[in-house]
Symmetry: C2
Subunit: 337 residues, 2 copies
């Protein structure tokens, strides 16, 4: 397996809750497809999650194992994908502290992703320093693993740009290409809405279906799903756009022809919400039943899961350490050999 | 040697040039006096020096050994004082990244020391992120070594305040006193001026006398020293205030009575600048001759000096690692035991 021919992909999640169908549609599915054809690192970004959860660290730490369970249950294979825990790799903090010298405060404040996230969180002037600088930490993650491809949504493109800026500034300072630039791998998936019709599915908004949801939870969530407020009688024509049930069918039903027929029927009237929901529910029950079963099986032996995480982290740490060694040598910070 | 009864002192220098008499008067002398009575850590702060020398890392890295030579030549005894190199202790970067979440950007921007230093360096809006956040890195240094006393000048008091704020915020979040607050140990020494009369002695201003200066360099520097512009004829009364030669005599001549007599004579007139300079030169030649000799002896075997640095760094790293371990445990970041 030569790393010169294979792309290296870095992705990850902030462990602030168990993963849900939004994660599946938005990233997990793509990771499963990439698995085996690229060198894939999957980072459980607990240190990054602490940048806006510093007052409640247990919200982060208690979810590291949950996220690992989700990864494994959904089919991430630790023999093909390296799963690592960010906080357990000191080289990432070291590289962050080096890269911090190659970006200005005002450049960080101009980062559109950060501006939007600061707005969403209502930080205003009380932005934790760690939050403003997390793009630097993200650049350290990407470059430490020498990732060449980073799957992102459109809104995360400024992060990739900032990473490559840092790479260029660092390399030009030391006069050699120590760090590697990366390419964004733009997701083709439209973002899955919440069950309530809000733009984003999120556990904290209470509009998510967890990957480990029970059959009853799945049923309840689908039944409560936002459809078309104007579709009062079955015979009325209904709207498909903005209708969460159809967004979910698009995302999770592989039979596109059947979904197209359902949409046409709904549009012209005569198709009950309950009927479409029944189709979706069956699909989701089928999709999640094996995930839930595997998750329950794995959860019995948490030590075995921790062992997988520990091994993945060690493997990832070796790679980060070799990058950090090159960085230190290039800067002349290798006094002791 | 119980660490519960002894104070732990952390001091250090940014390795951007060999040390000079300003360092001796301002801090080295006090460190020699403390040596043996406290647990003393002496940090060669190369990582911090990179925060405003990122474009020229060799300016920093090439001076690490020079500073170590100065320490040893002046009498710092590695059996009594732990000399460590900051960049070689990854736990300091790790602790920095944790503490970054417990301070806001605006709080850092309000730090008076940082404001003044930003002004001095002419950074304006182009402040490197690492520079704005270096007080957090300094807080990590202090708390990683569990320092209880930190020798500082008046202008550095805001740094100690910021460190203790971070300690309190962290401890209150995790609900136990994991990090230790420190006290400032205010220097009683007034700052030694440069040989040209400027407020600060600094190698880059060309107004410094290095600890390793040759006899000719010492002579030349003393002869060129700024005295009293109005003192044109020997018989004129002269001013002692702002007169660098007297500032140096105050700092380096232990015979206070003799210095007082010289001052009185100079004030009433009849004492030539050259005569006072001769007294000072003799004193400085006496003070620096053994330092220079020891420095030359040590410089022959640079590997032995590196070995001392390496051992000191290992010892310091153990202490930082034990603090970092406690920090991670308190946050719940110890997944693997």
């Amino acid at each position: 397996m030569s790393s010169t021919t294979k792309n290296t992909v870095l992705t990850g999640d902030r462990p602030t809750g168990p993963l849900h169908l939004g994660h599946y549609a938005g990233s997990l599915k793509a990771r499963l497809e990439l698995q085996g054809s690229v060198e894939q690192y999957l980072l459980i970004a607990d240190a990054q999650a602490l940048t806006d959860n510093a007052g409640d660290p247990s919200k982060v730490t208690s979810n590291v194992l949950e996220v690992a369970l989700d990864y494994l249950a959904i089919g991430i294979d630790p023999r093909l994908t390296t799963i690592a825990v960010q906080s357990q790799i000191p080289e990432l903090a070291e590289l962050t502290s080096i890269l911090m010298n190659y970006v200005t405060v005002s450049r960080l404040e101009r980062n559109p992703t950060i501006r939007e996230e600061i707005r969403q969180r209502g930080f205003e002037r009380d932005i934790p320093a760690g939050f403003l600088t997390y793009p630097v930490s993200q650049a350290a993650d990407i470059t430490a693993f020498r990732a060449t491809l980073v799957p992102v949504g459109e809104d995360q493109l400024p992060m990739i740009e900032q990473t490559n800026e840092l790479v260029r500034r660092f390399n030009s300072t030391v006069g050699k290409p120590v760090l590697v630039e990366c390419d964004a791998m733009l997701s083709t998936v439209t973002r899955l809405p919440g069950t309530d019709g809000k733009a984003k599915m999120s556990k904290s908004l209470g509009n998510a279906i967890a990957l480990g949801a029970s059959p009853a939870e799945i049923r309840k969530a689908v039944r409560a799903m936002y459809t078309d407020e104007q579709h009062l009688r079955v015979s009325d024509p209904g709207r498909v756009e903005g209708n969460v049930v159809f967004a979910f069918l698009d995302a999770f039903d592989p039979d596109a022809q059947k979904v197209a027929q359902l949409k046409a029927h709904y549009r012209r009237g005569g198709l009950a919400d309950s009927a479409v929901k029944a189709v979706l529910e069956e699909r989701l029950q089928c999709l999640l039943a094996p995930v839930r079963a595997e998750r329950q099986r794995l959860a019995v032996d948490r030590r075995a899961v921790l062992q997988i995480l520990c091994q993945g982290t060690e493997c990832a740490r070796e790679r980060a350490a070799s990058t950090m060694d090159a960085v230190k040598r290039a800067l002349g910070l290798s006094y002791f050999g």
